[in-house]
């Protein structure tokens, strides 16, 4: 008898588990009302792995000053997708494990629309001293949902030694000037076998960045400020055509279709590429390579003048389901203040959101590219600020890749892209 009861009990327990589990997964009406930033106490700071070792000392300083509001650093994987996934998991399970999130600039809309992060009071933060395009990345529908902590912009790396030898006085400001400079340099014996230009054209986020830059630099847009796609335009076509044509006539080497940031950097450092579109991190690495002292940076070229970069960087936000939000706000203020972003720039070459730091003599001495980077960021256009960013970037990669490969002509690609983007945004 006992055994039978036990076996039946086992079955019932299993069934019970099933039912309770079903029940709990349905819950979640979401919180309502304006966020109130109350409560003080220990919090967590969640960001990708800190490979430079500069974050923890900063937290130590905060912890020393606020013994009752200690911050614990939760490091997520280096891979951005994995970070996003873990943050979403934390939000979907309504956990209070994560308090302050370090978000990639392109996630703001998605996190805000899902109410995974709180709307923040504008007046608390010195947004006026920050570069305008950078602050824009932290807004969703006009509301501030995050505070810029770092930025990033694309720059044109070029070989000063070769340009000088070929008699080209200044770095190119337009695509035509760039091709002309290339033609001159290629006549030199030491430029034998060199390619003209490279960027990031593998089918990944880097392609979205490079495509958007080409389109914006020709006066087009991918999506307007409200997130409405508007890419099937003559301007956008001129931008895409530049890339397509460059691939076809060999201005961009064929194998650049597989390039990510690092591949392009290697090619530039080993003297295979004359012009390279890349991020500021390349600068100090190239200074340690064979092209040391033989290169400089310039703003990205465009169709009729300097082009516009896409924006990188991170913003800090408060998780909706977190506790001790008053501490969280103070902590964000601390992490994003001018002093700490300066430290990050000095120690880890992270581009700051503050305009003044780019004009600082001492810092320019350390990082000669700062004035160019500032120009790049000021003229930058953020990548489409839409809620389903994952779908949008996938559609951009899909069509841009098809056009660069020659599977579609650029007119067709842009028509299809407009259709795909409209569908993604309407979903």
């Amino acid at each position: 008898m006992t055994t039978r009861t036990t076996s039946r009990a086992a079955v019932i327990t299993a069934a019970g588990l099933l039912l309770t589990a079903c029940g709990s997964s349905d819950g979640g009406s979401g919180q309502a009302g304006p966020p109130s930033f109350e409560g003080r106490g220990p919090i967590t700071y969640v960001a990708g792995k800190d490979t430079t070792g500069t974050v923890q000392p900063m937290l130590d300083r905060w912890n020393a000053a606020h013994p009752k509001e200690k911050v614990t650093f939760i490091q997520l994987p280096t891979d951005a997708d994995a970070q996003r996934q873990q943050m979403i998991q934390n939000a979907e399970t309504k956990s209070d494990a994560y308090t302050v999130l370090s978000l990639d600039v392109v996630w703001t809309s998605e996190f805000a629309a899902h109410r995974w992060i709180d709307r923040l009071p504008d007046k608390r933060f010195p947004l006026g001293k920050m570069l305008k395009p950078v602050v824009e990345t932290a807004r969703y529908r006009g509301g501030l949902y995050a505070v810029p902590a770092s930025s990033d912009g694309g720059m044109l790396y070029y070989r000063t030694d070769l340009l000088k030898k070929a008699g080209v006085a200044a770095p190119p400001r337009t695509w035509d000037e760039m091709t002309a400079a290339c033609a001159e340099v290629r006549k030199l014996p030491e430029a034998k076998g060199m390619s003209c230009y490279a960027g990031q054209f593998q089918k990944y986020e880097g392609l979205t960045v490079n495509f958007a830059e080409a389109v914006n630099s020709a006066g087009g847009t991918v999506a307007d400020a409200a997130g409405k796609p508007d890419v099937d335009t003559p301007e956008a076509r001129k931008g895409l055509d530049f890339l397509v044509r460059s691939f076809r006539d060999g201005t961009i080497p064929k194998k650049a279709i597989t390039y990510q940031e690092e591949d392009g950097r290697q090619a530039f450092q080993s003297g295979k590429v004359l012009f390279l579109r890349n991020w500021p991190y390349v600068y100090s690495l190239a200074q340690k390579s064979g092209v040391k002292g033989k290169f400089a940076v310039a703003p990205l070229p465009g169709l009729n003048g300097p082009g516009s970069s896409s924006l990188g960087g991170h913003n800090m936000a408060v998780s909706t389901t977190a506790k001790n939000k008053a501490t969280a706000l103070d902590f964000i203020e601390f992490m994003t203040n001018e002093k700490n972003t300066r430290t990050l720039l000095e120690d880890a070459s992270v581009a700051p959101p503050y305009a003044a730091l780019y004009d600082d003599r001492q810092l320019i001495g350390q990082y000669p590219y700062l004035p160019v980077l500032k120009e790049s960021i000021v003229r930058a256009v953020p990548r489409p600020r839409v809620v389903p960013y994952g779908d949008v970037t996938a559609a951009v990669q899909q069509e841009a890749y098809a056009a660069l490969n020659g599977d579609k002509n650029s007119a067709q690609a842009l028509r299809d892209l407009q259709k795909a983007l409209s569908k993604a945004v309407a979903r």
């Binding site: 299993a14 996003r84 996938a394």
Partner: protein
């Protein structure tokens, strides 16, 4: 994974252990008691998630309220809408992934079987440095798939070793047949040792007398292989192949890391499910997962039925056959 549903059906009727016959009612009860923890664990970790995935697949993605700009809190019930979408609008992408998955499974498992058996035969031979060879063959299997994906990405880089050896300029990670080839090479490199390992275990239980007898009868090496080795390792080999098939049908990390996301030449069903889930559409993601589950389940079933893979019987048939041969 696939055997589980068949097993977890058992607990619902109260009596099966008793009906088995011979055993007394008391023994039956004891059996039920002893098995119940396992069943409980299986229910919690296998049956429950499967049912939840089924349920979730009937719900759509959360919608955006255009007035407030916020995503709604609840997922709308769409019935079979997700499935209709998969076979309708998203049909081209789905069937492409379906064929890729099937193609990869057939080709990689086929190659792995041939190479794996060859490896096992080599590892089985007694010769100097055998330990080293065995360890060497097993290294790829010990490498995590994600790491081997990164490793092969370097090899298949445009300036990588593969191109240097071939003396060609093939862009392996672009769309096309070459991307498929890259995935197949990396996959076979990594998992052939697995088949080799299981077959080696099968080889080691074949008594040497069988071979001696065959040699006495004048059977040549090829004949000994076809008529003694293969039939006797067949149970082990089939289990290995079945496991590999299931693994290959779920293939995700290798094409994702080696070639990249959203490349049509190598997109598999798992990648479609991951793509939906990463865009916070858990309903459609579950629908893809359910379809993949059914596909894997059918293949496994067909395997057991058609080829008589002896998964449940504990090798009884194998032993019988072995006695026949010895006799």
């Amino acid at each position: 994974m696939t055997e589980a549903p068949a097993q977890s059906e058992a607990p619902t009727p109260a009596g099966p252990p008793v009906r088995r016959g011979r055993a007394s009612a008391g023994a039956g009860r004891l059996a039920a008691l002893l098995v119940s923890p396992t069943l409980l664990v299986l229910t919690v970790v296998v049956l429950y998630p499967t049912l939840m995935a089924l349920k979730e697949s009937l719900y759509g993605a959360k919608g955006l309220d255009p007035a407030t700009g916020f995503i709604s809190d609840t997922e709308p019930f769409v019935g079979l809408g997700n499935y209709a979408e998969i076979f309708g609008d998203a049909g081209a992408r789905f069937w492409n992934a379906f064929w890729n998955t099937t193609f990869f499974t057939v080709v990689t498992v086929g190659l792995e079987t041939v190479i794996g058996v060859a490896m096992a035969l080599i590892m089985h031979k007694a010769f100097k440095g055998r330990g080293l060879v065995r360890a060497g063959i097993l290294v790829p299997w010990a490498v995590p798939t994600a790491i081997s994906g990164l490793l092969w990405r370097w090899i298949f880089n445009s300036d990588g070793v593969a191109n240097a050896l071939l003396g060609q300029q093939i862009l392996w990670t672009t769309e096309g047949v070459h991307a498929k080839v890259a995935v197949i090479v990396a996959e076979v490199w990594k998992t052939a040792p697995f088949i080799g390992l299981l077959v080696l275990a099968g080889l080691q239980v074949i008594p040497t007398e069988v071979y001696e007898a065959a040699r006495m009868d004048g059977a040549r090496a090829a004949r000994r292989f076809w008529h003694i080795t293969l039939p006797l390792v067949k149970p082990a080999l089939l289990v290995a192949v079945l496991f590999r098939c299931m693994d290959a049908l779920r293939m995700f990390d290798l094409p994702y890391i080696l070639v990249g996301a959203q490349k049509h030449s190598v997109e598999t069903l798992s990648m479609l499910a991951q793509n939906e889930a990463s865009n916070v559409r858990f309903g459609p993601a579950s629908a893809y997962a359910v379809i993949l589950f059914l596909y894997v389940f059918l293949i496994a079933l067909a395997f057991v039925r058609l080829l008589g893979a002896d998964l449940v019987g504990g090798g009884r048939a194998g032993r019988r056959r072995r006695t026949e041969v010895t006799a």
